[in-house]
């Protein structure tokens, strides 16, 4: 055997490890389910369900007849007529309006005072009371609808009184606010899709998780790591092969989930509430690009964590804790909307999060942002790989307990 050919063949150790791990894990039902079915498809399905429920509820509330219990309807027949014209169905009076709202029997209750008619005829201001619970977010649309109808009716009547006295209605409203909403259909969608980046991260995570556990803690528990390390292959090469296998599985997961979102994106009736959503090829390509360094980073982190564990179950526990980390940027951004600074793109997870939100807004990402995002995450990934490689050199790693 001459030296040259031996060298070339030994370079194939990486490939040998990679192919073996892929083959072995393709034979594992649990890994397959997690990487190719539940992991990547649960996200899109859950998403489309949530969105549909939310959208339909919003749409329903805006168009459907709205039943509102009214106390003292007889005192203000004209007001009631105006409400009816706006789609409100006045209901029978209830004994305790506050209690009715609190018990969620009605979204909103209207109470008209008995002296309404008298005051109205005198031209004095009168009060109508709206009972509602602002902490019930799903009731807000109904409350606003009723409140707008009442206020519109009041303004209309006021204007007519002024005209009757020979005054211009304008005298009562010297100032008028003209709202110029700069939200685009896409940017309105962003609010609703803030969790989307997290879905992608979780998918990558789930796709590689079982492999990462199996390839370090699992191999150790099965006592196959010691014989493996007795082969004339440097440990870092073995690690690289394993990492590549994890990356292959998590990338496949990501591709499946992107495909899933592209398909379900067509079934989300976003345009009905004035939103625009593009989850198609353009979006998927950029997400894939932004996510690739994260694939490497997460696989290295998972291997690192799993290598610390003595058993499969211990590794599983550690990794599920690690899974909580990617929630941080998503949660942070939805609770305190910050203006994105350039440097933020260089932070792994946060950068991807910001980038994907940009894409959803339809603003697109600039080359600089992509560059920062890739460079930052790739640097973090390399550090994680190096630390894991260092851990692989330890004598203790191979010794099964």
């Amino acid at each position: 055997m001459n030296d040259m050919s031996a060298k070339i063949r030994r370079g194939g150790a990486f490939l040998t490890v990679f192919l073996k791990e892929v083959k072995e894990n393709l034979r594992d039902r649990r890994t397959l389910m997690s990487a190719f079915l539940t992991g990547p498809l649960l996200g899109p399905l859950l998403f489309v369900m949530l969105i549909n429920v939310t959208l339909n509820r919003e749409l329903d509330k805006a168009e459907k007849p709205l039943p509102v219990p009214v106390l003292g309807a007889a005192y203000a027949p004209n007001l009631i007529d105006a409400l009816k014209a706006g789609g409100v169905v006045p209901g029978a009076a209830v004994a305790d309006p506050a209690q009715t709202v609190r018990k969620q029997d009605a979204d909103v209750v209207l109470r008209i005072a008995p002296d309404y008619g008298k005051a109205w005829r005198k031209g004095e201001p009168v009060q109508v009371e709206l009972f509602y619970d602002s902490s019930r977010r799903d009731a807000n649309t109904s409350v606003e609808r009723v409140s707008d109808l009442v206020e519109n009716y009041a303004r209309q009547q006021g204007a007519m009184r002024l005209v009757a006295r020979g005054l211009s209605p304008g005298t009562a409203w010297p100032l008028q606010v003209a709202r110029r909403d700069q939200a685009t259909p896409q940017s309105r969608a962003v609010l609703m899709f803030a969790m989307l980046p997290y879905f992608f991260v979780i998918t990558i995570f789930m796709g590689g998780m079982y492999l990462a556990i199996d390839l370090t803690a699992g191999e150790r528990e099965r006592q196959s790591l010691e014989p493996l390390f007795a082969n004339p292959v440097a440990r870092w090469k073995i690690l690289c092969g394993k990492l590549a296998a994890i990356c292959a599985f998590s990338t496949a997961s990501l591709l499946i989930t992107l495909l899933g979102f592209a398909v379900v994106g067509r079934f989300i009736p976003a345009e009905k509430i004035g939103m625009e959503l593009d989850l198609g090829l353009h979006f998927a390509t950029y997400v894939l690009l932004l996510m690739l360094p994260l694939v490497l980073l997460l696989s290295a982190l998972q291997s690192l964590v799993a290598a610390f564990a003595k058993s499969y179950r211990e590794a599983q526990t550690y990794i599920s804790l690690l899974m909580l980390v990617p929630i941080i940027p998503s949660a942070l951004l939805s609770f305190m909307p910050i203006k994105a600074q350039a440097w933020m793109y260089a932070i792994p997870l946060l950068g991807q999060n910001l980038g994907i939100m940009q894409l959803l807004r339809g603003d697109g990402v600039t080359g600089e942002q992509i560059g920062l995002c890739l460079a930052g995450s790739l640097a973090a990934a390399l550090v994680a790989v190096l630390v894991t490689a260092q851990l692989y050199r330890s004598e203790k790693l191979a010794i099964s307990a």
Partner: protein, 244 residues
């Protein structure tokens, strides 16, 4: 040939190996005998470079294990204490994996693999996934994958551990065959009869030290005991941890 010179290895305050030296020659079976916890496995782990010795030197066919661990591993076929197989791969696939890691070309790998499958009489299980293999079937597979690259030196850590009588007999015959092929066979055991029956040379280890390094006959002569079992007990100084 495997040469071990003054090996030391401590784990914290525990001196697992405390000055072990011996030579295992080609064409001989060398037995590493000692009670449980004597330091056999740790010594072997330093031989196949899984661990680095605190002090001392390991030479395999003249190559220093500290200087070129990869070259040493290439000269060795190792059945470690841990015999984990890949349960979702068949026996043949398990063997192939290690053969490829050794860089064997596919044709050579196939012929070596089939020769071992035949020699170890594992033709009927070779294409089954190793999940659910018996202990004997597992050891056979582990030995086949350890020897697939045709190593000059073979290290076996307690190879007959957990095997039934038939499997043990077959394995002993296989080891004799390896010796007849001119290989250097080094194995550890705590079973005296096995070591006495198989070995050309016996290295007795107790408390991390070599307490005897002789042929079986010389051991009997040295201790003045006719029976090997009595000879070992005399050398080690206690009966603890040995099995007949």
């Amino acid at each position: 040939m495997i040469e071990v010179r003054d090996l030391h290895k401590a784990f914290g305050a525990v001196k697992a190996v405390d000055g072990v030296s011996f030579t295992a020659r080609d064409g001989e079976i060398t037995g590493l005998l000692g009670p449980n916890g004597a330091g056999k496995t740790t010594t072997l782990r330093m031989l196949y470079t899984l661990m680095a010795p605190d002090r001392g030197q390991v030479l395999v066919d003249g190559i220093d294990a500290a200087a070129d661990p990869l070259a040493v591993r290439r000269q060795l076929g190792v059945l470690p204490d841990a015999r984990g197989l890949y349960k979702r791969l068949s026996a043949r696939e398990n063997i192939d994996y290690f053969g490829r890691l050794h860089g064997l070309p596919e044709e050579l790998l196939a012929s070596r693999r089939e020769a071992l499958v035949k020699a170890l009489e594992m033709g009927d299980i070779a294409d089954r996934r190793t999940e659910g293999f018996s202990q004997g079937q597992r050891v056979k597979t582990a030995i086949a994958r350890a020897l697939v690259h045709d190593p000059r030196n073979v290290i076996l850590d307690e190879p007959t551990n957990g095997l039934d009588v038939m499997a043990t007999r077959a394995l002993r015959q296989f080891m004799t065959r390896l010796k007849e092929e001119g290989r250097c066979v080094l194995f550890s055991s705590h079973i005296m009869q096995e070591v006495g029956a198989l070995c050309d040379r016996i290295v007795v280890i107790a408390h991390g030290r070599v307490v005897a390094d002789e042929t079986p006959d010389a051991l009997r002569a040295q201790t003045g005991e006719n029976n090997l079992e009595d000879a070992f007990v005399k050398i080690i100084g206690s009966e603890e941890g040995l099995a007949a």
